[in-house]
């Protein structure tokens, strides 16, 4: 056993400290819900992805190059000049009334008839997700989510210490029978999940869309088991064929619908919303007030002016044309370069392709090799709360140009070949322990500012 030194006990520092540098508090001082808020080896690797030498297919930053910046700068100046006293002041916790009316117009495209009084504007739909989890979930509660699911939602669920049970998807989205099985299994344990969290359109990360004929079935199953439905729909208007799917909310006014201007206008403005049943609204507004007092008035008024004075429908069309070209470039490069044993879906909208690699390859373990080869992707495990997804990865085509996408896939193919070569040497080793759950490992996917 080490013997404590008697020499100079004043200099014995149990934690870094002294001088101008503040001491580090011990981990026990923090709440249990921060257990997963740690440094992460995987997140650190994404730091390199921001360098221009690296083709990043990892992040989910929308491509804003097509925005009419000149016209917007005039709008911003005019907003300050004419309405500065309002735009720079506190506003209502529920959001600017004019914008809430316009949000209802946007949702009408998906068949939603909504009352502006039931709309709560949030700082991006991520805040809505956080608030919804806050008002529904106590620690230990169960929520259902597709497997895989949006990493930001899994982060919110973990922050409120909710347990996620994944429900399988296929090419037509969430499988109703799998949903029923999950509810039956949980029911047998006396557990009623607080809600089903679902991304029906152009799913992040899976790229699939819930078939129209499944939508009412999913709603019926949830109603039968008394489970609320949270519909997260940031990509619904970004379909490549121009088809707009009916929102779940259009079929059931009890659905909580989350929307966003991040993909259809400007992600940096952080304007999203929740459309909630009246019985949920007041709680949500009070929760929002305690979180931020009010969403930024300036940003809401800018979005409102944009919707009023600009042809936003054409702008969305322009965005989708750009994204379709990039999707095509990605699919064509995957076809050309990837080794045998890989499979992927063909998304009809949104930002993502979900790729399954040959058996035995662990995409998280392979990421350092990819970074060395100057290409980045998001490994699949980050999109599951239960350690699954090691054979999958998410490729984003939203930000890089088609030429860069092609180059990125060429590099990824070489990385896969090299990984397969190493695996052949070691006999496709089976990893004895299943990967640990997300809590305590830190974030496994890129930060929002990673392209």
């Amino acid at each position: 056993m080490p013997v404590p030194s008697a020499a100079d006990p004043e200099r014995r520092l149990p934690v870094p400290g002294g001088g101008a540098h503040p001491a580090v508090p011990p981990a026990e001082r923090f709440a249990a819900r921060t257990a997963g808020m740690t440094a992460s080896e995987i997140r650190a690797l994404f730091a390199v992805a921001s360098r221009p030498e690296v083709v990043s297919l990892a992040g989910g930053m929308p491509n804003l190059a097509a925005l009419p910046l000149d016209a917007l700068s005039v709008e911003v100046a005019d907003l300050v000049a004419r309405e500065g006293q309002v735009a720079l002041q506190y506003g209502s916790a529920q959001g600017v009334p004019a914008l809430r009316e316009q949000i209802c117009e946007v949702m009408r495209l998906e068949g939603v008839n909504a009352d502006p009084n039931d709309v709560v504007v949030t700082v991006g739909s991520q805040m809505a997700l956080d608030l919804v989890t806050r008002i529904y979930c106590d620690p230990g509660d169960v929520v259902l989510a597709e497997g895989p699911s949006y990493v930001g939602a899994l982060g919110s669920f973990a922050a409120y210490q909710a347990r996620v049970v994944h429900v399988a998807m296929d090419a037509d989205g969430l499988i109703p029978e799998a949903l029923r099985d999950a509810l039956r299994t949980l029911g047998a344990q006396g557990i009623t999940p607080k809600f089903l969290y679902t991304i029906p359109n152009f799913h992040n990360p899976a790229g699939v869309t819930l078939a129209v004929e499944r939508r009412s079935e999913v709603l019926e199953i949830c109603a039968e088991y008394g489970v609320a439905v949270i519909e997260d729909n940031p990509y619904g208007l970004l379909g490549f064929s121009g088809r707009v799917y009916p929102a779940l909310r259009s079929m059931d006014p009890g659905v909580v619908y989350l929307g966003s201007f991040s993909k259809t206008f400007a992600s940096g403005l952080r304007v999203g919303w929740a459309l909630v049943p009246p019985a949920v609204r007041d709680r949500l507004v009070l929760a929002a007030e305690s979180a931020t007092l009010c969403p930024p008035s300036f940003n809401q008024m800018l979005v409102s002016r944009y919707l009023e004075g600009h042809d936003w429908r054409s702008q969305i069309k322009t965005f989708t044309e750009v994204y379709r070209d990039r999707r095509d470039a990605l699919l064509s490069a995957l076809e050309t370069y990837l080794p045998e044993g890989c499979s992927w879906n063909v998304p009809d909208g949104g930002f993502y392709v979900w790729l399954t690699v040959p058996e035995g390859v662990d995409t998280k373990a392979m990421l350092p090799r990819a970074v060395t080869a100057r290409v980045a992707y998001a490994s699949g495990t980050g999109f599951y709360a239960d350690g699954l997804g090691s054979r999958q990865l998410r490729l984003s085509y939203c930000y890089p140009t088609p030429e860069r996408i092609t180059e990125g896939v060429r590099r990824l193919a070489a990385v896969l070949e090299a990984e397969l070569d190493v695996m052949r040497t070691f006999g496709s080793p089976v990893r004895s322990a299943s990967p640990p759950p997300a809590v305590g490992r830190g974030p496994q996917t890129p930060s929002p500012d990673t392209a």
Binding site: P16, G19, V24, A44, L45, A47, V371, D421, V422
Partner: protein, 321 residues
């Protein structure tokens, strides 16, 4: 700072970032160092190691460069060689010695040759496993080094890719993970004991070893998360070891610093085993300077200010030219 007046009026370029796996850590180190230098009056430029660097150095020549790059070009002597080419003074070890220290098997061989203890090891590239048969080579490795076994990439830091492997069945998967970081794996006999880091600084007439810092990772493994999550690891400085061992650690760190031809500053990572032997794991030419790093902890414990220390090292670099 121990005084109010600026201790330096120099202009220093802090290099941080780079394209290695340790970019994130390097950016954190760079920010901490830049802040510490500014606090003592130094004018700081913060530059990445990218295509604009040489242009920056020519257009706005600093008095000296402080390298906060980790991994790859920051530690293998490449950036140092470029600075030497350009005649720019820099804090830290010269290029040839960087190259030696950076390659862990080379450095270990040199330390062992000089009679310093380092865990028994073997370093092998992927091709050797492929050509001789992985199973046979792994069996020989386990036979010689035992289990558990420490696997790490032969180059690189921040514990990236490093893992303790407990059973022979887990070895193949661990090898695949490790080889994703580098083409050669360093397998070491696992040494249980007290994990310690000893920093050496040369801010006076002779290099001196700072108080040894003991690493007490809550999860038991000092991995990336334990290193960079504030509070996940408790540091004891000086280490909870008897005075004789503390002295032996400092002597060993100084011996390794001199033996490998290191300059200005370095950090030795070691384990004091159950028999009181100092087993050197590795020696770093570009120690981490983040909020949770070991060298700044030792500097604090020694009653020294990081900015003042670096300002003194900058003076040495400028004098060297």
């Amino acid at each position: 700072m121990t005084q109010n007046a600026p201790v330096s009026e120099r202009t220093v370029a802090v290099l941080a970032g780079g394209l290695s796996h340790e970019r994130e850590v390097s950016l954190r180190s760079g920010r901490r160092l830049a802040g510490a230098l500014r606090a003592v009056g130094v004018t700081v430029r913060e530059w990445d190691a990218d295509a604009a660097l040489i242009e920056h150095l020519r257009a706005d020549p600093p008095d000296a460069v402080a390298i906060a790059l980790h991994g790859g070009e920051g530690e293998n002597g490449a950036i140092q060689a470029v600075l030497e080419l350009l005649g720019v003074p820099f804090v830290g070890t010269a290029a040839p010695a960087c190259r030696r220290a950076w390659d862990k098997p080379t450095a270990k061989a040199e330390l062992a040759r000089a009679g310093l203890d380092t865990p028994d090891w073997v370093a092998l590239p992927h091709a050797t496993f492929r050509e001789l048969g992985a199973r046979r080579v792994l069996d020989a490795m386990v036979e010689r080094l035992g289990l558990p076994l420490m696997l790490k990439p032969d180059q690189g830091g921040s514990a990236l890719g490093a893992q303790v492997v407990g059973t022979a069945e887990d070895l193949p998967a661990a090898m695949v993970s490790c080889l994703a970081y580098a083409d050669t794996v360093l397998a070491e006999r696992f040494v249980a004991g007290t994990e310690v880091a000893v920093s050496v600084v040369h801010d006076g007439p002779e290099p001196r070893a700072l108080p040894p810092v003991e690493v007490d990772a809550k999860g038991g493994v000092y991995d990336y998360t334990a290193r960079y999550t504030p509070g996940a690891t408790t540091f004891h400085c000086p280490a909870r070891l008897d005075a004789g061992l503390l002295e032996k650690l400092q002597e060993t760190a100084l011996a390794a610093h001199r033996l490998l031809g290191l300059r200005d500053l370095s950090r030795m990572d070691a384990v004091v085993d159950d028999e009181g032997r100092v087993q050197i794991l590795e020696v770093n030419v570009s120690p981490g300077l983040t909020d949770t790093s070991l060298l700044p902890t030792a500097v604090d414990a020694a009653g020294r200010d990081l900015g003042e220390l670096y300002a003194a090292l900058v003076e040495r670099a400028v004098e060297r030219g």
